[in-house]
């Protein structure tokens, strides 16, 4: 699925009634099957962009198009993964994964086999009957990923999905996500704070800076796939990372003492 932002702005009203522009007019085009990493500091509007595509908020002006159609309500073929797993603790793993199926009014029975297959893919075969309280943080986030994938989304929106995990689990999840994406080949919009995460995973890294949120750099990452973890030591990786850092240094987001 493709995504297009056309002169999109978002103005929030503060408590004092002042208007706060979260986004400068944004133009961005994402082609089908592309993995786009959206990097920037807090408040740069990267999560706002994602919420706009998910139809959780409406733009103040401009349009967002998904597959050429203007976004007005949540698109049935879009899956969202948030920073925390947001599993419902009173539902089993299987029932959590089937939540979007239920909400869309589809036949749960037709998705049973798909749930099993997804659980196996993320290394949780046989965990369908467990409850979220019985799982570790990494396992819970894997379940959340299954829940986003159960509807076979053409577009996956990920909002700092690994931000709440410990460093080792996070590393594993990054590699697993790449493997999964290579087999799915859907479009991904991946929001993160981490330059390394974005460069490692994405075909394109879009760098944003705050007040108001704007795109400063749109960088194509030409590293062959599947990428091994060692690509972090590749001179090309260093160069990509340097270019992203240079933006943050120029904008005062990162400062040397």
């Amino acid at each position: 699925m493709n995504v297009r932002f056309e002169r999109v702005t978002k103005i929030y009203e503060t408590r004092d009634g002042e208007e706060l522009a979260a986004l400068d007019p944004i133009d961005l085009s994402i082609t089908p099957g592309e993995f786009v990493g959206l990097v920037g500091p807090s408040g740069c509007g990267k999560s706002t962009l994602l919420s706009l595509v998910a139809a959780l908020i409406a733009p103040s002006s401009g349009r967002i198009l998904v597959d050429g159609e203007e976004v007005r309500r949540p698109h049935p073929k879009v899956g969202v993964i948030f920073q925390s797993d947001l599993l419902l603790y009173w539902r089993s793993v299987t029932d959590n994964i089937l939540l979007p199926v239920e909400i869309k009014g589809w036949d749960r029975r037709k998705y049973r086999a798909r749930v099993e297959q997804l659980l196996e893919q993320v290394g949780l075969a046989g965990f369908g009957g467990k409850y979220p309280g019985e799982l570790s943080g990494g396992m819970r986030q894997r379940v959340a990923i299954c829940r986003a994938l159960v509807q076979e989304p053409g577009l996956l929106l990920m909002d700092e999905p690994f931000g709440a995990l410990d460093a080792l689990t996070r590393e594993q999840m990054i590699m697993d996500l790449q493997a999964m994406w290579l087999s799915l080949a859907n479009t991904v919009l991946f929001v993160t704070h981490s330059i390394e995460e974005a460069v490692f995973l994405a075909d394109r890294v879009v760098v944003m800076s705050p007040r108001p949120g704007r795109i400063d750099l749109d960088l194509r990452i030409d590293l062959e796939r599947p990428r091994r973890w060692l690509v972090h030591n590749d001179p090309r990786f260093f160069e990509y990372r340097r270019q992203v850092r240079a933006i943050f240094e120029a904008k005062g987001v990162l400062k040397e003492h």
């Binding site: 879009v78 603790y89 939540l99 409850y131 979220p132």
Partner: protein, 261 residues
């Protein structure tokens, strides 16, 4: 070695299970033994055994009055739940309603409702109506407040999640808000049922022709302390029994966050 550890664990389990009944038994036994030792007569302080015997003898009398009190409590509680939950939903969904009603409810909550009992008798007479109304009034506030708190405690990101799946507000409510609020709602129910018993009995103290509160006053007037205690036991049984029924219902419909370990 291993069997020693197992034996210790068994001993600890037994201790945990029987600690509370054992303490209760010790208290009752001490009471039973202390009364004759202190030379107290039955109408000053009856022994547990005398009270138990009396319950057996006057079973019919106690039950016919307990039935009345039980009906008042249940009617008041059900009324409180049936009006409290819609009130809580209105507070949750309507900002105006919340602004107008919620602060007043919290202020009213601090008024001891039992002081209204004499007035309720004045307006509603000597029958079951003032008792049910007092049981309702006293149970209403904890249910409203627990339900509102339960609904408000939901993580906003959860709502974003189901919205991103295209959920309507009705779906959001039944799949998310309601199950998330249920533990708190049942917490309110349990507080309310205990208070409703108080409401009904106080109502009976003020003016009644039947009920356990009425029976207690009769026993008092006749210096029948044993019957008085027997009524106390029956009132306690009503409270404990209804609490137990609610807990049973809760374990059927509520999945506790810490249930799965």
């Amino acid at each position: 070695m291993a069997s020693g550890r197992r034996r210790r664990r068994l001993a600890r389990t037994l201790l945990e299970i029987f600690a509370a009944p054992a303490l209760a038994l010790i208290v009752l036994l001490s009471w039973q033994l202390a009364v004759p030792l202190a030379g107290l007569s039955e109408f000053v302080l009856p022994t547990p055994w005398q009270i138990l015997k009396r319950i057996g003898q006057d079973y019919a009398l106690l039950w016919s009055n307990a039935r009345v009190t039980l009906a008042e409590v249940v009617a008041g509680f059900v009324l409180a739940a049936l009006t409290g939950i819609p009130t809580a939903l209105s507070i949750f969904y309507s900002r105006i309603f919340e602004r107008a009603v919620y602060p007043l409810l919290i202020a009213l909550q601090t008024i001891p409702k039992v002081v209204l009992a004499p007035l309720l008798v004045l307006y509603l007479g000597y029958g079951w109506a003032p008792k049910v109304f007092l049981a309702f009034l006293i149970g209403f506030f904890p249910i409203v407040i627990a339900t509102v708190v339960g609904l408000q405690s939901l993580d906003k990101a959860m709502v974003s999640l189901v919205r991103s799946m295209g959920a309507s507000e009705a779906q959001t409510f039944f799949k998310l808000r309601l199950p998330a609020a249920l533990p708190s709602v049942f917490g309110g129910f349990k507080v309310a049922i205990a208070l409703s018993v108080i409401g009904a009995v106080i109502g009976e103290y003020v003016a009644a022709e039947r009920g356990l509160g009425y029976l207690q006053l009769q026993a008092n007037a006749q210096f029948d302390t044993t019957l008085n205690f027997a009524s106390v036991v029956m009132i306690s049984l009503i409270g404990v029994g209804l609490f137990f029924v609610l807990s049973l219902l809760e374990s059927r419909v509520v999945f506790r966050r810490d249930a799965a370990k």
